[in-house]
Symmetry: C2
DNA sequence: CTAGGGTCCGTAGCGACTACAGGCTCAACG
DNA sequence: CGTTGAGCCTGTAGTCGCTACGGACCCTAG
């Protein structure tokens, strides 16, 4: 019985499936240096192990949390060079959190404008439509 | 004394300045059909009037409110074909508002994860860093 | 008459993928 | 053993909404 997440010998499709990402994303991350180049079979097929999977999962999770690939690259480089300190991670997280909060504030303003305009809409004439009025600024 | 927003004869830079967008955005919108092609001088310079300005402002405002250019194109087409009804505008706005709210919900989840992890961080060992723990999923 | 700005055009770049074309390899089935 | 179909390989182009750039005109002031 094969392990659910085999430690070595995964091909690209299996790695993607285990990590829950698109097949081509794996190759893309390799191309831009987010994943190391894996060893290959004689025929040139990539062979991934659990280390690759962990790294890919880290990248994907950080993406889910809204970090850019450049920010993630920074975190990975810290780790790769043994310079990873909790304080540094916290600093970068705080910066990112501020960006997330700014974005939320933006969207809430947008939501307000749209919701107010929609609520005012009485299905009347186009000329007096509050939504179009909001859109016209 | 020239009018602050001259009704005709604006060049591209002036239109962009009046609308508050980047110079090149004007040309881009024309290229993708969001703005009509304006008349030209003998030398080929574009000449915009108040109608162009109003349309450009509409597009920019809708962009600020998070509509995609395709969505805006749809609204403009309704208007251009005289099929613009308040009910239809309301329907599209409601759809967009739902997307905005979904995005806010996404970001709030992200904010929660990051804030909780950051609050738990005690500056301890990297191996136990709650932020990296959150990032590892 | 020349210098400087503004305008013209097409094209390339960003970020983060996704999709495709054309060719190889591999496992299974007849 | 041959064929078929799936999976893998590569490079390239497309997405969205701009922004930037290069090289050629044009227009005005000094």
């Amino acid at each position: 019985m094969v392990d659910h997440v085999p430690a070595r010998g995964m091909q690209r499709a299996e790695l993607a499936r285990c990590a829950g990402c698109h097949l081509e994303t794996v190759r893309y991350y390799e191309k831009i240096g987010m994943l190391p180049e894996p060893p290959r079979t004689a025929a040139g097929y990539r062979l991934y192990d659990a280390g690759h999977l962990a790294r890919l999962r880290f990248v994907l999770r950080a993406r889910e949390l809204g970090f850019t690939l450049e920010e993630i690259r920074g975190l990975l480089e810290l780790a790769d060079h043994g310079k990873l300190t909790c304080a540094e991670v916290e600093k970068r997280t705080a910066r990112h959190l501020a960006q997330v909060r700014a974005k939320i504030a933006d969207l809430r303003r947008i939501e307000q404008v749209l919701a107010v305009a929609a609520a005012e809409c009485t299905g009347g004439e186009v000329q007096t439509c509050p939504i179009l009025h909001a859109l016209a600024g």
